[in-house]
């Protein structure tokens, strides 16, 4: 079974970072004394980072904030973008569509980092605030993609047939249009997750939401870059874990969707 092996591969690839992120802090133990920056060996089997902490321990600690913040931000962004996109794709009132989508264009024109910095200078957000901000920065993109995908599905005869049956909005929008654009959304969610991860990391680098030396995979990649050629593991390991997280989620989504298509059967 080709679909099944792909499913297993996806699960394996995403499993490593997820297990590390969720269970890592339980096994990390107490931080040892600091050593010299960017060294290898000497009891630190992944070496030390830019301030001389044990990289392996940082990796164990650093997953949870990344995974939780990024996931929360992605989910939040879609929670707003989905209804906005679906409503504007399915309405025939152009003023409503303009009303919903135009303000987002204004938001789209502001660079997301600038937006985060502006708000941060006023409110000083914590981890929750950061997740909200990153979600806000992602809503315009996500809503546009939802609207474009939904508009294509909403123009199909199947939707006209549903209207002809006097079907409810919910059944049309969620039951059919939502289902039809699942594949596009799954692909977009995978890309968005990656983007969100690095936006969180950049914000942290600038001192928003996360402490600049926090145990956080994204922050690790950012801060340990300087020692990349001296002690690559401090960058490579967290980077690989982030890549595994996003690639794995894409693979998993694809395999799950393929399986449902296969069950649907061939067309005669």
């Amino acid at each position: 079974m080709k679909g099944r092996s792909r499913f297993a591969l996806g699960a394996a690839v995403i499993g490593v970072p997820l297990v590390l992120a969720l269970l890592g802090p339980l096994f990390a133990g107490e931080p040892g004394p600091r050593a010299v920056s960017f060294t290898l060996g000497d009891g630190h089997w992944l070496g030390t980072d830019f301030v001389g902490r044990d990289v392996w321990q940082q990796v164990l600690h650093g997953g949870r904030p990344v995974v939780l913040t990024a996931l929360a931000a992605t989910v939040l962004a879609y929670l707003v973008a989905l209804p906005l996109g679906l409503i504007s794709a399915l309405t025939h009132r152009s003023w409503l569509e303009e009303l919903l989508m135009r303000p987002l264009d204004v938001l789209l024109a502001v660079p997301s980092l600038l937006l985060i910095l502006l708000v941060a200078s006023v409110f000083e957000p914590g981890a929750v605030g950061l997740a909200l901000l990153v979600a806000l920065a992602n809503i315009p993109d996500a809503a546009r993609i939802v609207r474009a995908a939904a508009a294509e599905a909403a123009a199909r005869p199947a939707v006209e047939a549903l209207r002809m049956q006097g079907e409810t909005w919910w059944r049309m929008a969620v039951g059919y249009v939502g289902r039809a654009m699942l594949r596009t959304l799954a692909a977009d969610a995978g890309i968005r997750l990656t983007g969100v991860l690095y936006l969180v990391a950049t914000a942290a680098f600038l001192g928003v939401g996360v402490a600049p030396d926090a145990a956080d995979w994204a922050v690790m990649v950012d801060r340990n870059r300087t020692g990349l050629f001296v002690q690559p593991w401090a960058v490579v390991v967290p980077a690989l874990l982030i890549v595994a997280l996003t690639t794995g989620s894409n693979l998993l989504f694809d395999a799950a969707l393929d399986r449902r298509t296969a069950e649907k059967g061939r067309q005669p």
Partner: protein, 523 residues
Amino acid sequence: MNTPLNTPRDASVDVPDGAAVAEISNLRVEIDGRPLVDGVDLRLLPGRVTALVGASGSGKTTTGLALLGEHPPGARVSGEVRVPGGGPVGYVPQHPAAVLNPARRVGALLYDIARERVRDLPRAARRTEARARVLCALADAQLPQGQALLRRYPHQLSGGQQQRVVLAQALLLGARVVVADEPTTGQDALTKSRIVEELTAVAAQGIAVLLLSHDLDVVRALADEVLVMKEGRVVESGPTERVWLTPRHEWTRELLSRQPQFSGGEEPGGAPTGAPVLHLQDLTARHHRTQVLHIRQLALHAGECLAVVGRSGSGKTTLARCLAGLHRNHDGRVTLDGSSALPRSLRDRDRGQLAAVQYVFQDARAAFDEYRPVVEQVARTAVRLRGAEAPAATAEALAVLAELGLTEEQAHRLPGRLSGGELQRAALARALLARPRVLICDEITSGLDTVTRRALLDVLAGLRRERGELAVVLITHDLDTASLADRIAVLDAGEMVEQGTAARVLSAPSHPFTRRLLAATTR
């Protein structure tokens, strides 16, 4: 599309006259142990048209694609396919737009191939030679004014022109064999006769044509040799006239007898009486700012069947969509039962108005949600429009589906596992569950083979007998189908040029356009 191959044009010339340019022997293609094609033998001779006929799913396309060396994914193939002359085999698919790169102009699509073919010439001569070859191929593909088309994008061409561009690509490649897959499906009579001319011209250049079609008129007009397929096997083959006049196999006889005999329409339609169920006054429909349809007056009575005929682009589908509330951009009055004006948009119609006018879509497959079983979708009509309880609605859906010839097991399948004809029946059932006063059928038989089409029209005729009050609007480009109606309205370029009883319009057409349409059908 075939990738351009670097076979010199002359390679195929050494085939002696009378020898086959392509040959299939004992071809068997199976998927999961189920044979799609079983033991097919086929010889294509230069300058001859060979037709494969049969119902959809009989293995025509699988055989045709085997000539190109293409097989469905996961297929087990045995047997032999030989193209002795070498060189590519041209393929003109049913939907030519799908093989033309939409982002490139027609000229670029053709020059890409022509350039490959003039590689061996001196650099200076290449450009002129390529241009000459492109123009020659366009002329051969019956696009004599092709030069004007070179600057256009594929979407700026009509379906027929796209088809000829694909054909020109095949000719540029130096194909000695062309496979034409359902070239006339869904085309009106005038376009069909042009396609027949175009393929005749191709064959006249000494190219072997394999025609895959369920359109028996076209097969008879074009083919020298016919192979009749059923369930993946060739049940009969022979010269076209012989097969037509003295069919040996039972299936061939059925296929030919099911072909609608074009009649002048003998029974006079009962003159409609009483108040019309649907009445339309001064209807003007637009696409954006362009007016595409204007009809001063049209009435539909209970129990009556009105056929709306015209070429593609004549506005007949727009008329149907205006009535159904699917096309909002129109002015004028559409009244139901002489009293209440129907809102222009579907969204403003109440349940009763929605139920009263139901619409059946041309593409049944696209009109069903591919993720839910058919019966579930059909039953929703009764739930939403008549307030039925879900179990009662399902029972009623199964009953209506059974009446239209779908078993309970089929009804529980997903749309993807039903054939085009079966899905169209399900679509009819979905509309009927609303107990409509007016049923609008938009080209519901185009794209179906003759046997399936006939069966579907029988279903429709049965419905009209069972439900005497049901008024039907039949949108069609096909005069055979229209001859089943009581009255016919003829549309040309958005104007209604003629309307009258079917018998009158078909036997004594008064408008020149109707006469041309009739002439093209009976040729």
